[in-house]
Subunit: 516 residues, 2 copies
Amino acid sequence: MANKGEMNGARRRLLGAGVAALAGVIAAPRPARAGHPAHARRWDGEFDVIVVGFGVSGAAAAYEALKAGATVLVLDRGSAAANESHGGYFYLGGGTALQRALKVEDTPENMYKFLIAAYQPAPAEDKIRVYSERSPEHYEWLVKLGIPFGERLFDDAWPTAAGVGLYFSGEEQSWPYREIAVPAQRGHMPSLTGLVAGKRLQQLLLDAAREAGATPLLAADAQTLAMSTDGRVEGVLALVDGKTRAFRAHRGLILATGGFANNRDMVAIHTPQFLDNTPIDVGSNDGWGHRAGEAVGAALERMDGAVAYFNLYPPLSRKQGLLVNAQGQRFIHEDAYYGKLGYAIVRTQGGVAHLVLDAPALGDLNEMAGPRRANRGPVIAAQAPTIAEIERGIGVPEQTLQRTVEFYNHFAAKGEDPLFHKNPKHVRPLTQPPFTALKASVKDVYFPFFTMGGLRTNARTEVLDSEDKPIAGLFAVGRVAAGISTPYYVTSGSSMGEGTLFGRIAGVNAAANGRV
Amino acid sequence: MANKGEMNGARRRLLGAGVAALAGVIAAPRPARAGHPAHARRWDGEFDVIVVGFGVSGAAAAYEALKAGATVLVLDRGSAAANESHGGYFYLGGGTALQRALKVEDTPENMYKFLIAAYQPAPAEDKIRVYSERSPEHYEWLVKLGIPFGERLFDDAWPTAAGVGLYFSGEEQSWPYREIAVPAQRGHMPSLTGLVAGKRLQQLLLDAAREAGATPLLAADAQTLAMSTDGRVEGVLALVDGKTRAFRAHRGLILATGGFANNRDMVAIHTPQFLDNTPIDVGSNDGWGHRAGEAVGAALERMDGAVAYFNLYPPLSRKQGLLVNAQGQRFIHEDAYYGKLGYAIVRTQGGVAHLVLDAPALGDLNEMAGPRRANRGPVIAAQAPTIAEIERGIGVPEQTLQRTVEFYNHFAAKGEDPLFHKNPKHVRPLTQPPFTALKASVKDVYFPFFTMGGLRTNARTEVLDSEDKPIAGLFAVGRVAAGISTPYYVTSGSSMGEGTLFGRIAGVNAAANGRV
């Protein structure tokens, strides 16, 4: 709600070019056309199932449709399968083989209880049920595809050691969740390392789809869905080599086109608080699938949903620090999943924050792990022998930060955090100079985001209209569909987990769908 | 983001009836059908313009369409024109006759500057421009219709004296707005009093439409829009006396159907944070117009937008109090417009707050004005001679509220509020016992809300699809359309102001539209 000045670039499409230039606005990528479904008269190719988008969700969908005996066309706008699935790990539980092997106690019911609590006030109960119950089987499927998972257990978030297969990727240990469900490690991490672990993981999934028979048509730019005269989605029109081609899907068309973080108009309309964040999505995530679905009558759900990453972990010792707002006050337990920290900074604090640390909590600045973040490490706002100097250094009102630290230390000496119930293992008085404030405001640091809102679907992945009736022939999976982790995100790895599991479900259901 | 337990009634449609009963969930009113646009074969009546919904927006639309010479059908679901337009006043400015008479300095540019700043980060620039420029003329129009405005100027929000015509209904005096634009009173208040001032005001507008020739068809329950085969909205199917009737609109159909606060499914999907708030809208505000628009390809905008009213003003002295969250911390300037206070409580504080006052700030409990709120006055959570006792009484952590008050008093003694820049005229140390904490949590008090998100329209009130192309023949005004005060609300009276001004624009444009 903070005033950000008149010229923030939002509603750019409503401004004249001159004003936009004045505001230093960069032109948005021109979104592909999606608004008007076409009726195709002739087809350039006919298939049982068409999958639009060859990321992990699309790959899983194509794989299962092919295994079910369907003929499948996969279209992707990219010139190579270069879609970036951000995470390199899967949120899974309910007693997977890896959990059992590492003696992590978990059941589908326990996972369900946690997810229902974590995604209040309006959890997607049906999808959470399916996700919790099918997780163990889905893990087996991933293993069978050749994904090599690590074999060691890690007792917290953000494992830095090699070989970890299972760790806490979400909010399981945070209050109040740790009292609602037994905390279980559910971040299933493949033993892939290096600069492009996420991409290599995706490649494994894409290769599996290819081995199953998928031959993706690349550089194929989907333009509009094709509707039959009786209101069924029966195909898609795509630009291929500069020509519009019509492809028919006899049984089902699966949208797997990702989010809309790179469509600045859609961000301004649906998630304007995130206009200052950097889209983490690949450039092709321009909401084409959302708009194409809308154009054939699909309902949208939770379009305000987005995740922003407060990108300052690890090392773990930073959780000992205090995250403070423009008033020098704390506003969250600092051991929260970093997507939750980011959400709180953007949504409840107007994008303004600092992380205050003493010497041991700061740890080694060079320890900033995560190869993709190597050149986007912590930025020091102030470093000084006293908190009073830090207070002046970061420009919060006089006496505020000092009182915040003094209050925190008073209870931290007893291992308590009465304000936000930080896990006691991270609670320690901040007393050892020098003190450091790291920048944590959206405008000051690399603060990526991606969108979570999408087409309304049921647990069968059928796309629904505003009356909850399925739109015949249309399915959606991955970030183009509203899912479990909407509108925010406290279970890292669930985009990969949901995307692939519900991708599989879409593939099976589309292949089994009645033929046009 | 607070955990509210598993059984909050959201996603009720996904639960079995047994679970819903267990959760104490009340069945939602069954929404009228809207999902599938029909093609009508014969018509029971043909008109130039059809207006669906006879509230103030619909009345203004019908009035102007009739004045332009169009034949007009007005449909309303109610058995009498009993739609409740909440406010009894209009947010207008830019130098209205009343502003000039009362020597309030304002220009369209000044109003524009304020509104652009107030509705960051993505203000609806085009609509704000029209609203600011046409406000003075619109005021004349309202006067000509016979609406009697008060003649006295009031220097703050919430006039309690009689005869006030102009006061601060929004955030104009708050920081930072008071430094961005010259604060001008823009709440234009009619001299109508009593229990049903809002209703009487609406009645005046409805009567004006009737005098212009509108003969509303009441108890007419719109079911679906009718589409021509070439994709133009050409009418509506409505249930009248148990039979489906088809009404044709040759030039344009105007949706003026209000918000969706009474559709609990839509609230769960789009504004789940407000599930515990009480819908202020009339029961018929079930989002039918949103769904009908969606079904013909309209895009939705800012569906997360909603206003919640922290309902404890006047007396003004309460602004001297401290609004504190579950951590005993302040989070906003307490002199904010009460819709902004409500928004902050719901959106940034998980719905939990108390208002802490000393004896003079409390004032007279019986002074709680606003006849409709007579039996929903303040609720005392704690009253005691010391803040320490208040702290225990409201259950915030030990030492938090005491430190908050001590800090506040320290600077208040100098007339300063370094944390939130409360207007100095309301800043005073809270030192005089007894101290009182009033309940301000969503679950503890009457905490009404209504929704602000709606169909995407341009400043001509044409409904747009996801590519910003107008849907031929379809217009939308009032809360069914996304407007200026979306996604939140810091200008009380702008629903009435926007609704009637853009209602008029819709009436003119629909009447001038090309005939089918």
